[in-house]
């Protein structure tokens, strides 16, 4: 243990090394690409990708594409929350239904559901409805599972407090169960939203329709490689920021309780 403490004293803080490593990686990439060790056409240097952002914003309508993709993802997560929380509540309320179907929902969570999109394509056509529907399919399992988990985990004594005041089942849900389970449900909705984003971008890319997925697909087809990398970097960065922010909200929610 003592040696571990000593070595950690000599090492710089993890965050410094982390961003140092990132900078080194980018510099190495830049150098390799400029020196021609890797083809600048196939893998353009970071500086060129960075410069392509102007084109993305001005000519390619990056902002619109972003708003569209995230609008669809949020719509999907909103719809998914309504359905998912209701289903999660039913699975919690009926013990038997919970035993019968919770495993199914868990299996759905790791099943390749996004591959169902051709089915939705034939039902809804090649439009936003298909994309939102695929987002809903993606976000339902975590929302259902987390809602049930949250409601199952409400401390019995809090429910008893409600019972001693003779609360109706609806008030019991609204005043006690729901707020008590809220942090867990929020966690489910947050994961659901991420899954919705993944499905929305994926389907947009596959059917070349609307939003960031279509933009990347188009740029690739036109061999605008630097801009295509820019689009990819943008999607990654936005997802990371999004994940980061919702994670902070969640820890804040938990700490204020």
């Amino acid at each position: 243990m003592a040696s571990a403490t000593l070595t950690s004293l000599r090492k710089p803080p993890a965050i410094v090394t982390r961003f140092g490593a990132l900078a080194l990686f980018l510099l190495g990439w830049e150098a390799a690409s400029r020196a021609g060790w890797i083809s600048a056409f196939i893998v353009p240097p970071p500086s060129e990708i960075y410069n392509s952002f102007e084109m993305l914003f001005v000519q390619e309508g990056l902002v619109d594409a972003f708003l569209r993709t995230f609008g669809e993802a949020f719509a999907a997560a909103g719809l998914g929350s309504v359905i998912g929380i209701a289903v999660g509540y039913l699975l919690h309320r009926s013990k038997l239904a919970g035993l019968a179907y919770t495993d199914w929902v868990a299996a759905m969570a790791s099943a390749p559901l996004v591959l169902l999109y051709p089915l939705f394509l034939v039902v809804f056509g090649r439009n936003s409805a298909t994309i939102v529907a695929m987002g809903v399919v993606g976000c339902l399992p975590p929302i259902i599972l987390k809602t049930k988990e949250g409601l199952d985990g409400v401390k019995p004594v809090l429910l008893n407090v409600g019972r001693t005041y003779g609360l109706t089942p609806w008030r019991q849900f609204r005043m006690i169960q729901f707020p008590a389970a809220l942090p867990t449900i929020f966690n489910g909705v947050r994961i659901g939203l991420l899954f919705a984003i993944i499905n929305v971008v994926g389907v947009e890319y596959l059917i070349v329709f609307g939003g960031l997925g279509q933009m990347i697909s188009d740029l690739g087809d036109r061999f605008e490689i630097a801009a295509m990398f820019g689009g990819i970097v943008f999607v990654i960065l936005v997802s990371v920021c999004f994940f980061f922010i919702t994670e902070k909200i969640e820890t804040w929610l938990l700490s204020s309780k």
Partner: protein
């Protein structure tokens, strides 16, 4: 005079995998208005079952519970329960916790906030209205729970080992607080406890329960002058009461301990 609370021949049997367990066996208790009664017994004597029955949380039992002479079953607004476990709502501030039952009853906001403020003052928590339970100590949270229970001026205050999770000193000071509230409101109270000193300090009468099946084994009247406080504990009479109760409780507690060890050995 009709007793405020009358528990008549209450009994309850649980069926478990190892067979039926008689948790309570024909328990009868009468409590006068304004009286403070404690039920004391070893773990497993059915204290909690008794409290669940009176609190209305269990309704398949034998026997009857009367409130001011009227038969009741299920949860009653006139019976307020303070639970042993942490029962404040972590997502509500202190004042919103206390206002909870009034909100559930549909009182307008102004009225319930005014009343909640009064109650917080009664338990000595003025100034902490807008704190969340996580920012307060265990003793303060339990005072919030007591204030919340008093919101509707219940006929009976039922407390289930309300200080069990607290340290000894906090427990004594909180006992003083309960004595003071009792004095001010003349509150009829049934306290379930396993702490002998606490029972003597607070009660007019102490009922000692036997280990399984739970029966009232003995009743001891605590003839100590009121108003009381935790300072009583130094007195000779206090010590005699504690000794007398322990005399009876010892046998039951060791039965309970033996039973527990037998169960462990079997597992």
């Amino acid at each position: 005079m009709t007793p405020a609370l009358s528990i008549q021949n209450v009994a309850k049997t649980f069926s478990t995998a190892q067979g039926d367990v008689r948790a309570l066996d024909h328990v009868s208790i009468d409590i006068r208005a304004g009286e403070f009664v404690s039920v004391i017994g070893p773990s497993g004597c059915g204290k909690s079952t008794l409290m669940n029955i009176v609190g209305g949380l269990v309704d398949d039992y034998e026997g009857e519970v009367h409130l001011d002479g009227a038969l009741v079953r299920g949860c009653q607004k006139q019976i307020g329960v303070v639970f042993q476990e942490e029962s404040t709502f972590p997502w509500r501030t202190a004042i919103d916790n206390v206002a909870f039952p009034m909100e559930a009853a549909g009182l307008p906001r102004e009225a319930r906030m005014a009343r909640a403020r009064e109650l917080l003052e009664l338990v000595g928590l003025n100034g902490f209205e807008n704190r969340f339970p996580s920012e307060l100590s265990g003793g303060m949270r339990q005072r919030i729970a007591i204030a919340r229970t008093l919101a509707f001026q219940p006929r009976i205050l039922l407390m289930d080992e309300p200080f069990a999770a607290l340290d000894e000193q906090t427990r004594l000071l909180l006992g003083d607080k309960v004595l003071q509230i009792q004095q001010e409101l003349n509150q009829t109270t049934l306290l379930i406890t396993h702490n002998i000193a606490e029972a003597v300090q607070l009660s007019d009468r102490v009922l000692i329960m036997s280990f399984r099946p739970g029966r009232i084994k003995r009743v001891i009247d605590i003839d100590l002058p009121r108003p009381r406080s935790s300072k009583l504990m130094g007195g000779e009479k206090f010590g005699q009461y504690v000794a007398a109760i322990w005399e009876d409780l010892r046998e039951e507690a060791s039965k309970g301990l033996q039973d527990m060890e037998r169960v462990r050995a079997g597992a």
